[in-house]
């Protein structure tokens, strides 16, 4: 227990942790603040304004149309050719319809908590995950390369316990941050929605679904932090984790994309990691194959392939277990120089 508390303290004392925390909070605050300005509450006045504007445009379109028809008919009466200028039948078929001027197109953007907050959960989770990755990697990476790990092992010569305790301290910290910041994040957007947007239709079911989104986001931040930690411990250097992350990203998002395109693999994106991240947050990711479209037969109905969040859980779970087991295995086996 004392070791766990020590490691929590050590993590909190680190400059990287403090700096990244400041950046994280500033970043999230900036997003929330900037977003609050882009949303505007649809008060009756605003709605009336939009309706008036729509009606106005409709009326002026009607006026234009009537004048054109009248001009055309006058020209026809003079025996002139009108086809080219006014279209067939003097354009009488193109009378403006009221549904071409719907009031909602004239409304300013209004944030809809129910429909749009899940996306902001993903933004939040991605930010905290990045924080967890960097802090987790440097927490153990710096220990390895400054000899701190060796010093600690002279005190607690149980390698797996020491590494495990460090990981536990990291995950506890990331967990606490995700919960606290997540609550603030939700409160902030609830406030934005209340003041400048809409909180309509927030049933218990919707809250439950948002809660589940939050849980998956929490899982993602913990997973990314643990993987960063494990990679840095494997390579015994912070840079190893960052390098591995860049490598995995390049291979998955660029290399595999090119490869499947060249090989003509159907639904090639199912081999790309970001598809699984997407489906993890949005419960599923749909892939389309537009090559199967038969445009001659009307609207296109492309073949689809669905990646579910359960599949994502398997993929990420395997990655997590692989990295962590490898890290502990080498911790047990390798000499500490």
């Amino acid at each position: 227990m004392s070791l766990f508390v020590t490691e929590l303290r050590r993590l909190g004392k680190r400059r990287v942790t403090r700096l990244m925390l400041v950046l994280l909070v500033l970043g999230l605050a900036t997003v929330a603040t900037a977003f609050s300005f882009s949303s505007e509450k649809l008060s009756p006045v605003v709605v009336a304004e939009a309706e008036a504007k729509a009606n106005n445009d409709y009326q002026s379109a009607m006026t234009d149309w009537k004048r054109n028809v009248a001009e055309c008919e006058a020209a026809q009466a003079r025996g002139e050719k009108t086809e080219e200028r006014y279209g067939p039948n003097c354009g009488k078929d193109y009378q403006p319809q009221p549904d071409m001027f719907e009031a909602k197109w004239y409304l300013p953007y209004q944030f809809d908590f129910r429909a749009e907050f899940p996306m902001f959960i993903a933004v939040f989770a991605a930010s905290v995950a990045l924080f967890g990755f960097i802090v987790g990697a440097s927490f153990v990476g710096a220990e390895w390369n400054t000899g701190g790990m060796m010093n600690l092992l002279l005190w607690r010569p149980k390698r797996l316990t020491v590494l495990g305790t460090k990981l536990a301290a990291l995950l506890t910290t990331v967990f606490g941050l995700t919960v606290v910041l997540g609550a603030l994040w939700t409160a902030a957007f609830w406030l934005i929605a209340g003041q400048r947007g809409s909180t309509a239709k927030m049933t218990a079911g919707v809250w439950q679904s948002i809660g589940l989104d939050g849980l998956r986001a929490l899982g993602m931040t913990l997973l990314v932090a643990a993987v960063g930690f494990a990679l840095a411990s494997l390579g015994r250097h912070t840079a190893m984790a960052l390098g591995a992350a860049v490598g995995i990203f390049a291979v998955s998002e660029i290399g595999i994309r090119i490869a499947v395109a060249v090989l003509g693999v159907q639904f090639g994106d199912r081999y790309v990691l970001s598809t699984y991240a997407q489906s993890w947050f949005l419960k599923q990711a749909e892939l389309f194959d537009y090559d199967t479209c038969q445009f001659s037969q009307g609207a296109c109905e492309p073949a689809t392939y669905v990646v579910t969040w359960q599949q994502s859980a398997v993929v990420f779970g395997v990655a997590l277990v692989g990295a962590v087991v490898a890290a502990f295995w080498t911790m047990r086996r390798r000499d500490i120089a």
Binding site: L3, T6, R9, R10, R14, G147, M150, P157
Partner: protein, 332 residues
């Protein structure tokens, strides 16, 4: 006396695909009695640090037996770790933490009271600078911090790998005093160092290692005696007779080194035999003195690392002893 530290037949082999196999420790033996200050000597790359790392569980040995305070290692390491304070070859500390934070975190991990941190900081002379980041410390200050971290637990066995590295003369003398105090208080100290004058002053006993094997061990005066016994300086009345004397002595199996105006003999049991041998040749001895050697010359002789004019000795060029050669007594 009971042994605080026992090592028997310890082996550590490094394998690399490119450079092949390196026996860093090749059947190494060591024994340190309770309450002693024990010097651990050897040329660069002879395996001192490897021995200490293995002992502390940082490296897995390929064979052999180790015990600390009567408990078998590495099995019992977690149990004895609280009684062993160690620094291994200029330890590094996290550069952005202060000395007080660094020691505070260690003390907390080891469940020690907070005031112990201030005690050891005082002891190593870092009290007034303890709040500064380790990054800003000089080499000797870092070394003092390292010693402080080893002392923190108030251990029964203190293992210091080159603690004097980077210390100023005052610091070295202070360290000497500290070692003596600690050992008087009942602490057993194992000290690896290249400053042999220092070792000779501080240590009760020594182990000398060369190429991963023990070449000599025992109380300092006995190791010295074992190697000064045979050393004798001989002067003759006539300098011209020196070559003849050298010839006669080496035929009798005595090691002879010719100097301009005298001979240095080694491996002489009784100086009287020398005078008898020379008298038989009609040579008259004007001086026959047993030479007191210091630890440095014994070390250089035992490890065969004395510099030879015109040659640049490479690391790993040192005495290699047979496994059986070290079995008994001190002095190979």
């Amino acid at each position: 006396m009971s042994a605080v530290l026992e090592i028997e037949g310890l082996r550590k082999t490094y394998r690399s695909r490119k450079r092949g196999v390196r026996h860093a420790l090749d059947g190494f033996d060591m024994r340190v009695e309770a309450g002693q200050v024990h010097g651990f000597l050897g040329p660069n790359g002879s395996g001192k640090t490897t021995t200490l790392r293995t002992l502390l569980g940082l490296i897995k040995p390929n064979g052999g037996r180790m015990a600390i305070l009567g408990q078998e290692l590495p099995h019992a390491l977690p149990a004895v770790a609280g009684q062993v304070g160690a620094i291994v070859e200029s330890p590094q500390f996290f550069p952005h933490f202060s000395a007080r934070d660094t020691l505070g975190l260690l003390a907390q991990a080891g469940e020690l009271p907070k005031q112990r941190v201030d005690e050891v900081l005082e002891l190593v002379g870092l009290r007034d600078r303890a709040g500064e980041r380790v990054k800003t410390y000089s080499l000797g200050m870092k070394q003092r911090l390292a010693v402080a971290s080893a002392l923190l637990k108030n251990p029964k066995l203190l293992i210091l790998d080159e603690p004097a590295n980077g210390l100023d003369p005052g610091g070295i003398r202070e360290m000497r005093g500290l070692m003596r105090e600690l050992s008087e208080a009942g602490m057993t100290v194992v000290l690896s160092s290249h400053i042999l004058g220092e070792i000779q002053l501080i240590c009760d006993s020594v182990t000398i290692i060369s190429l991963g094997r023990r070449v000599a061990f025992g109380p300092v005066d006995q190791v010295l005696a074992a190697h000064s016994q045979g050393a004798v300086r001989v002067r003759l009345e006539a300098v011209d007779d020196l070559p003849q004397a050298a010839d006669a002595l080496s035929r009798a199996g005595v090691g002879v080194t010719a100097e301009p105006d005298h001979l240095m003999l080694s491996g002489v049991d009784k100086p009287a035999t020398v005078s008898r041998l020379l008298a038989e040749q009609g040579l008259y001895v004007s001086e026959l003195t047993p030479v007191a050697v210091d630890l440095e010359s014994v070390f250089l002789e035992l490890t065969a690392t004395a510099p030879v004019p015109g040659q640049h000795r490479q690391v790993d060029q040192s005495a290699k002893v047979d496994q059986t050669g070290t079995a008994g007594g001190w002095g190979a």
